[in-house]
Subunit: 292 residues, 4 copies
C-alpha cells in the first residue's frame, strides 16, 4: 500500500445515533476506502470520539467534494473534526513541522533527534530553540537549525516574542519542551496556535512543581514516574498523553533517581510525541483520548 494517499479524520461530538454509519457512508460513497477505525464513547460526558484512516487513491470524486460532504455530516451532528492528508494534491508532504525547546539537559533532545533520524517520528524536525548555548553542537551534529534565545527576568516578554516569531517563520505546528527549564507565560500559550507537549519528571499529579526527584526521594516512594502532557496555563495540569514508572528502592540516592528518570523521560516523551504526530490524540477538557 502506498501511504502517500492516506488521510486521517479525528472527530469529537456529543454522542448521537447514526454517527458511525453516517460517516462510513459518506466516505464509502465517495470512493474512500476505510483502513482503520477506532472510536470511544465517554458515557459520563456523553461524548463521542473517532479516528478514521482512509485511502483516497481511488476517490470517485475530488478531495474538495469529499471535504464538503464531510463538512456537511459534521454540521448535521455538530462535530468538531480535523482532517489530515499525508500528501497534498501537489504531491507535497503534509508532515507536521516540529520545534524542540531545550535548556541544558541533552538526553531528551538526543533521543528525539535519533528517533527522527531512524524514521520513528513522522514529522519535519526543523528548529531547535534554547535559552542556553550548550546544546548547539548537538543540533549541528544532526543538522537542525539552532536558535539561541537567552531568557532572564528582565527580558522574558521580548524573548518569548522572538520565539513566537521564530515559530511563525519556521511554520511550526508542534513544539516539544524537551526538559526546557523555563515556564511559558500565558501570553505565549495564548499566542501560539499549535500544540505544545511537555515532559514532567514525575508521575503527575504527584510531585507537581520543582525538583520532583528530590521530592520523591524525600517521600520515600518505591516507584518514580514521568508524564508527558499538553502544556496549558495551569502548570503541570495539562491533559496527560502518556505516563510510565520505574521501580526504585532505598538504595537509590537522588542521583540514581535522576539517572533512572532520564530513561523514563525519554521513553514517555517519545511515545507521546509519536502518538500526537500520528493524529492519535484527542483532547477534551483536561483529559485525552489516545487511540492505539
Amino acid at each position: 500500500m502506498d501511504p502517500s494517499t492516506l488521510a486521517t479524520l479525528l472527530i469529537s461530538c456529543a454522542d448521537r445515533r447514526g454517527l458511525v454509519a453516517g460517516l462510513a457512508q459518506v466516505l464509502s460513497g465517495h470512493g474512500a476506502n476505510i483502513l482503520d477505525s477506532d472510536q470511544h464513547t465517554d458515557r459520563d460526558a456523553a461524548q463521542f470520539f473517532q479516528r478514521i484512516v482512509f485511502d483516497v487513491a481511488e476517490l470517485n470524486t475530488d478531495r474538495g467534494t469529499l471535504e464538503r460532504a464531510i463538512a456537511e455530516v459534521a454540521k448535521r451532528f455538530s462535530m468538531s473534526y480535523q482532517l489530515a492528508y499525508r500528501q497534498g494534491v501537489d504531491g507535497q508532504s503534509n508532515k507536521k513541522r516540529m520545534a524542540i525547546f531545550v535548556s541544558k539537559y541533552d538526553h531528551c533532545l538526543y533521543d528525539l533527534l535519533l528517533r527522527h533520524q531512524m524514521g520513528e517520528l513522522d514529522c519535519e524536525l526543523v528548529l531547535i530553540i534554547s535559552n542556553h548555548p550548550d546544546l548547539e553542537k548537538v543540533a549541528r551534529q544532526f543538522e537542525v537549525p539552532f536558535k539561541l534565545q537567552p531568557m532572564g527576568k528582565d527580558n522574558k516578554p521580548e524573548a518569548e516574542q522572538r520565539e513566537l516569531e521564530l515559530l511563525q517563520e519556521f511554520r511550526i505546528d508542534v513544539v516539544v519542551l524537551a526538559r526546557y527549564m523555563q515556564i511559558l507565560s500565558n501570553d505565549f500559550l495564548r499566542a501560539f496556535s499549535g500544540d505544545i507537549i511537555n515532559i514532567h519528571h514525575s508521575f503527575l499529579p504527584a510531585f507537581i512543581g520543582g525538583r520532583p526527584y528530590h521530592q520523591a526521594h524525600e517521600r520515600g516512594v518505591k516507584l518514580i514516574g514521568a508524564t508527558a502532557h499538553y502544556a496549558t496555563a495551569n502548570l503541570d495540569e495539562g491533559p496527560i498523553i502518556e505516563q510510565d514508572v520505574v521501580r526504585c528502592s532505598h538504595r537509590d540516592e537522588v542521583t540514581d533517581l535522576i539517572r533512572k528518570g532520564r530513561d523514563l523521560e525519554k521513553l514517555v516523551l517519545a511515545r507521546a510525541v509519536r502518538s500526537h504526530l500520528d493524529d492519535r490524540v484527542l483532547r477534551y477538557g483536561s483529559k485525552t483520548v489516545v487511540f492505539d
Copy 2:
C-alpha cells in the same frame, strides 16, 4: 443504558473494499445503534477483523430480519461471523456457560470463583470437573457442582468420554483448564465443539512442556512468565490470548518462582477468560486478535 439489549458481532474475512461501510449501513438501516467498533487488518495475511457492539433496543424491524440482512452481507464479502445477543427475545440471558477443570492446585480455581462472585466474569459458572477429590470443598463453598472423574493410564478414553457427556449435559460453551494436570487427547479436542482455554506456567514458546519453573530456574532467566492460550492438538502451541511476566533474581529458588508464578497465572488466566467471555478474541491460524 440497558445492557440487556446489546449484541456483539465478530467478523473475519479477506480484506475487501467497502466492508466497513457495508456493515455499518446494514446495522444502521435496521435501527441498530453502533456503540463500539474496533477493527484490524493483518496486511501480511490480507485478513480483516472487526468487532461491533450495537444496541437492538430500537430496531425498526425484528431480529430475524436483521440477521438475514447480516447473513446476506456476510455472503457477499465471504465473511465468517459470530453474533451474540446479551439476552434472547424471551428475556433469557445468553451468557456463556463455563466449566472449570482442575486437579490439585487451587489458586486459579479460587481466583476464577471469586472474580465470578464479584461480577468480573460475565458467564454462568455451572460446573467444576476434577480428576482428584481435593478441591470439592472449594466448589461447595461457592456452590458450584463438582464432578469427580478420576483418570489414569487405563481409563483415559472412558474418563474423557464421561467428561464430554458432562459438558453436553451442562451445555458448556467454554472450558477453562485451571492448572488441570492432564493432557486432553486429540479425540477429546475434536469432540468438544466449544472453546478450551489453558494456562501454561511459562512465557511461551520458552519452556514448553513439564516443570517450566524448574526449567526457568535451571536456565537462570531474570523474568518468569505465564501464557493463556486456546488448547489445540499441538500441546502448548495453541493461539496465545494473553501473557505476562514478573521479575525474578538469583535469590529466587524454585519454590519462590512457583509462588511468584501463582500470582501471574491467576492474572493472566483471568484476563484471557474475561476477554473471551466479552467476545473480544478472534482466532486465525495460530494467532489471535484481542480487541481492547
Copy 3:
C-alpha cells in the same frame, strides 16, 4: 537446613567504622552461623541499616549469653536493634500474630486468607475485626475468629477501646487494614504498640484522601496505583513499604479502575505484609528500608 533454629537481627544506627566486622565477630564468636546479611547506608542521613539471618543450632554458648553480647555491641555503637528467633528455646513458634481489619470489601481479605492457607505468610492469623457483619461468613470459611465491632460517630472512642482490648486479648503483633473504611484515631495509634499496615488505593502521594479512583478518572491519568504503608497519625503519609501501578486508558470508566485496582491492592498489600512478617522492613523517619 532446619529453619526452626534461625534468628533475624535488624539493626539501625548512625554510620560508624567497624560496625559490620564488630557484629560479625560477636555472632561468629558465639558459634552463630551467618546465612544472609544485607546492609544499607543512607549517606544523606548518615544512617546504617543491616539485616542478618543466622543459625543458632550450633551455638557454643546459650541464647542469653549471645543476647548479652549483642546488647553490648549495640550499646558500644548506639544501635537500635530487634532480634527475632523463629522458635523459642521451649520449641514454641515465635511467629508474629496478625489481625485483619475489614469493612465490606472482601478481595484483600480473601487474598490474605488464601495466601496464609498456602503458606506464603509466615504468621498466626488469629483475628478478624470488622465494623460490618458482611464478611463474617468469609472468616468462618477459613475458621478465623471474627469480631464485629460496629462504629459510628457516637461510639468511636468506646469502639476503638474495645478493639484495643481484643488486640491485647489475642496478643496481636501486627494489624493489617484490608480496605478498612474507618480512620483510626490518634489515640488508637498511640495505644497500640504493634505495627499497622494499610493499603491505600492510589499511587501516593497522588490522590490522597477519599475516592482516589474517582480522582484518578477525573484527572485522566494513564496509570493507576496502590500503596501499602505503615499507618501513622498523618493519614496517608506513613512510611511506604510497597507500591505498584497498572496501565489504564480513556476506555476505563471508574468501575474499570476499581476492578483493575482490586488486583493491584491485593498484590501490593500482600507483598508488604510478607516483607514485614519476614523482618525485612526497617522504618526511619517517614521512609523505609525494605531488604530483598
Copy 4:
C-alpha cells in the same frame, strides 16, 4: 566520601561456616572500612557468593599486606575471588577498558556512547570495531577510535585474528556486542581473556537464533523481549545478565516489533553493561548472580 579509595571484592566458593565473619575480620583488622556488603547462597548448588565494597583510605598497613591476608583467607576457604581498586597506588584510574563491536544498526552504539558521555558507565570507552564502514561517522562524533575489519566467509580466521590484536593493543577488558551481526568463533572466544557481553533481541530461551522478531510475530506472542548475556561457545546460551519485555498486540507488524525492540535492546544492554562494570555480576555455570 572520596570514591577513589574504594575497592570491590567479589567472592565465590563452596558454602562454609565462618566465611562472612572471617572476611569481615581480615578487612577490619587491616583498617579497611566495609561500606557495602551483599551476599547470596545458592542452596541447591551449596555455593556462596559475596560482594564487598570497602574503603582503603585509612588502612593501617599497605595494600600488599592486605592482599596477602585476603589471599590467605581465600586459600583457607577455597575461594575464587577478584579484587578491584578504583585507583592504583600511583593514583591512576583502574577503570575497565571497553570495546564495542557493531555492524550497521546504530541504536545500541549511540545509547552506550551517550550513557558513557553522561557518566553512567564507569569505564574507558576506547575502541569501536565494525565489519562495516557505516557507523564510522558516529564514532567520530564521539571521538572514539573506529577500526574497520571487514569479514566474509573467506577471511574469518584472519579477520578475527586482527580483532584479537586490536583488543590486545588497546588493552581491552570487556567487549560489548552492540547488535554485532557476526558470530564469534570458538577460537576467538577461547583466545580473548576478557568478558564479552551480547544483546539478543528475544526473551531467551524463546526464539533462539536468527530473526527473532519475525519468529515472535509468526507465533503471535503478546510480549517481546530482549536478553543481555555473556557470550559463550554455545550461541545464545551464555549466562543471562538482564532481560526485559514490552507489550505488543495484533496491531504490531514486524516493523513495529523491531521499533519497540530497539528501546528494549538499549535498556537491557545498558543495564547489563553497567552491572558488569560496577563488578556486580558473578558467573557460575550457565547462570549469574547480579547484586543490586
